[in-house]
């Protein structure tokens, strides 16, 4: 016999504050962008509905295509370097005692530096004439000048991002490692597991959750990167380090093409959403799909 529970939906009112704050912080601005993206703003009081026109224009824009490719390459490179490096750092960090506290503080320092300061630091640090890095490299005969060579500019932006954000990955991985119960390591010792097997079969599977967060955070952040390359290279030389945000800003603020910029923003937003969705679902299932036994 089942007794019907009295239906009480009043608890939904408790969601209201969240809905209101989300509306003001996300929904309303987003709807404004949607609104702009389908109109041609001629003057503040005059606008014409243009439908999908701006979207078509944006999707056909070859500058946008190359910015998108650059962006994907950059985000891919960021993930490929920062995730393994962060895990390696976390594995090498002392587990307890004053040494671990010291390392944690040192590691967290780059995370405390504001974005534009990071850009400025590296801008000066890498200058071939007065920067420590640039000057040293030049003295050793390396042809390094990020203002002229797009390879040098790319490497500098990438290394700057690695310096700035690898600590975040390392801290996340470190927390994940500390959460693995000691019994796993003890069992592995009794089973005669090698150091590599311990990493492959215990540490890596147990880190999957935190690494997923690290990958998503680093992907989204690097995909939206703006300040550091803007300060460091200004998108140059040429357009070699002009990533999506910067291209968007040039359009919206520089040329004041509000319609195309809004359509661009929407596309940009959808790309991030789509890629995060794919990444999340892919990583969630890594190592869980059933294999047949040998």
């Amino acid at each position: 016999m089942t007794t019907a529970k009295p239906v009480n939906q009043r608890a939904w009112w408790l969601v209201l504050p969240v809905l209101i704050s989300v509306a003001f912080s996300a929904l309303i601005p987003l709807m404004t962008v949607v609104n702009y993206s389908v109109q041609d703003i001629l003057s503040p009081s005059q606008s014409v509905y243009v439908g999908m026109e701006w979207y078509k224009e944006v999707l056909r824009d070859s500058d946008l295509h190359s910015a998108l490719v650059r962006q994907l390459l950059f985000s891919g490179a960021v993930l490929a370097v920062e995730i393994p490096l962060g895990v390696a750092l976390a594995l090498a960090m002392p587990a307890a005692g004053w040494r671990s506290s010291l390392v944690l503080v040192l590691l967290a320092m780059p995370l405390l530096v504001p974005w534009n300061v990071v850009g400025t630091i590296w801008q000066i640090f890498s200058r071939a004439d007065i920067g420590l890095l640039g000057y040293t490299l030049t003295r050793f005969g390396v042809d390094y000048n990020y203002a002229q060579s797009s390879v040098a500019a790319w490497c500098t932006v990438l290394i700057m991002d690695v310096w700035h954000w690898t600590p975040l990955v390392a801290l996340l991985a470190y927390a994940g490692l500390r959460a693995i119960p000691e019994a796993y390591y003890q069992a592995a010792r009794i089973d005669g597991a090698s150091r590599w097997a311990v990493f492959r079969y215990i540490q890596l599977p147990k880190l999957r959750g935190v690494l997923m967060i690290a990958v998503l955070l680093r992907f989204m952040d690097s995909f939206m990167i703006y300040t550091e390359p803007f300060v460091l290279t200004g998108g140059g030389p040429g357009t070699s380090t002009t990533f999506l945000s910067q291209y968007l800003t040039q359009k919206a603020v520089g040329q004041f093409d509000l319609g195309p910029a809004a359509a661009f923003s929407m596309v940009y937003f959808l790309i991030i959403l789509l890629l995060c969705f794919v990444l999340y679902n892919y990583i969630k299932d890594v190592g869980t799909a059933d294999r047949s036994s040998s």
């Binding site: 119960p181 019994a183 796993y184 003890q186 069992a187 010792r189 009794i190 089973d191 005669g192 597991a193 090698s194 097997a197 079969y201 215990i202 599977p205 147990k206 190592g287 869980t288 059933d290 294999r291 047949s292 036994s293 040998s294």
Partner: protein, 365 residues
């Protein structure tokens, strides 16, 4: 097959290196130096309250911890400095340890593959063990999704799969298992013990588990082994006051007494005990008797002391009687009583063979 001998093995977590002999008393021992032999093929339960050093002792035997001092011999071979993977000892932990991303088969094969076994042999051996553990239908499944008891069987299987394994150490392996499955798993363990003729050492703080599982019970408290013996020995002749308290429900009664004119006396009444020896002078003396052996009489006789019945509880198969004996509260557990005793004065008879003298917590021989 292996006989495990511990020779003067002691461990302290605060001292990393072996301390000079003169200073050893100052160490904060997690495990007091002890010498003990675990017979080949025996089923031992290591029983004691939390933090008494059970797990430390287990980890020393398996090699996860190097003892601060002493030697461990397996069949006479000194293995004190040998790494855990080179000892033929397996260990099962409190929480099931499985390699999440592997299948059950790969989990069981893992120790063999680490020892460079060839694929066909791995396959045969894994199937043998899976059959014993009733894991055959799950071999192709991923270990992650299995229930806690299946996972615990896998951890056990990873120990058993190595054919050289002579002893399996269990560290409270049934803690996270559902009660109705505990019983099945415990029976499985007994069966494996008989089938594979392994030595088993089983850490627990649940005395029912210990009493049903093991032939020999080793009782520990505060880093010290206080008694090792069969369940009956521990029940009938506790060597230490702690054993009396820990084994049995309720625990043993202990009554203050004094030693005068060559006999133990409670409030002046001479009590003859099973202890023939003379207690050391100045020791704190107690007479211990199990509630099961206290008899209630309505007249005075030899070895009986006047008391008062304060409370009576009928438990069905037995009757619990709470007595006030001078300043002490004493339990008597009566069986086959026709009538429920009435509250009021009574004589508590302490049968001489059933009570013993304890000097400074330890039983006098």
């Amino acid at each position: 097959m292996a006989r495990i001998e511990l020779v003067d093995v002691g461990h302290s977590y605060s001292a990393s290196a072996s301390a000079p002999a003169g200073q050893s008393d100052a160490l904060d021992w997690a495990l007091l130096p002890m010498t003990m032999t675990w017979a080949d093929g025996g089923a031992y339960a290591l029983l004691g309250p939390s933090g008494c050093g059970k797990t430390t002792l287990l980890n020393i035997i398996s090699g996860l911890i190097a003892p601060t001092r002493g030697q461990i011999l397996l069949d006479g071979r000194d293995v004190t400095l040998l790494a855990p993977e080179h000892r033929n000892i397996a260990q099962v932990f409190q929480f099931p340890v499985v390699y999440d991303t592997m299948t059950v088969f790969d989990n069981l094969a893992f120790p063999l593959r680490n020892r460079q076994w060839r694929t066909p042999e791995v396959r045969t051996r894994v199937h043998e063990i899976a059959e014993i553990l009733e894991l055959l239908p799950d071999l192709g499944r991923r270990a992650r999704g299995l229930s806690a008891d299946a996972k615990q069987k896998i951890s056990l299987g990873r120990g058993l799969v190595r054919p050289d394994v002579a002893a399996v150490l269990f560290d409270e392996p049934l803690t996270v298992i559902d009660p109705h499955l505990k019983w099945l798993l415990r029976r499985k363990l007994k069966q494996i013990h008989q089938q594979l003729r392994l030595s088993l050492i089983y850490v627990t703080h649940d005395q029912t588990e210990a009493l049903t599982f093991a032939d020999q019970i080793v009782l520990m408290t505060k880093g010290e082994v206080v008694q090792a013996g069969t369940a009956q020995e521990l029940f009938e002749a506790p060597a230490h006051r702690f054993v009396g308290h820990f084994i049995g429900t309720p625990g043993m009664n202990f009554l203050d007494c004094e030693w005068r004119d060559g006999a133990a006396r409670i409030a002046g009444t001479q009590i003859v005990t099973a202890s023939g020896g003379i207690p050391p002078a100045g020791a704190k003396l107690l007479i211990g008797i199990r509630p099961e052996f206290v008899e209630l009489h309505d007249h005075a006789s030899a070895n009986s002391v006047p008391a008062r019945i304060c409370a009576v509880r009928d438990l069905g198969a037995s009757t619990m009687v709470q007595l006030q004996l001078g300043p002490a509260a004493v339990w008597a557990k009566l069986r086959n009583t026709r009538h429920v005793p009435e509250l009021g004065p009574v004589f508590a008879h302490l049968p001489p063979v059933r009570c013993a003298l304890y000097a400074d917590e330890r039983r006098v021989a």
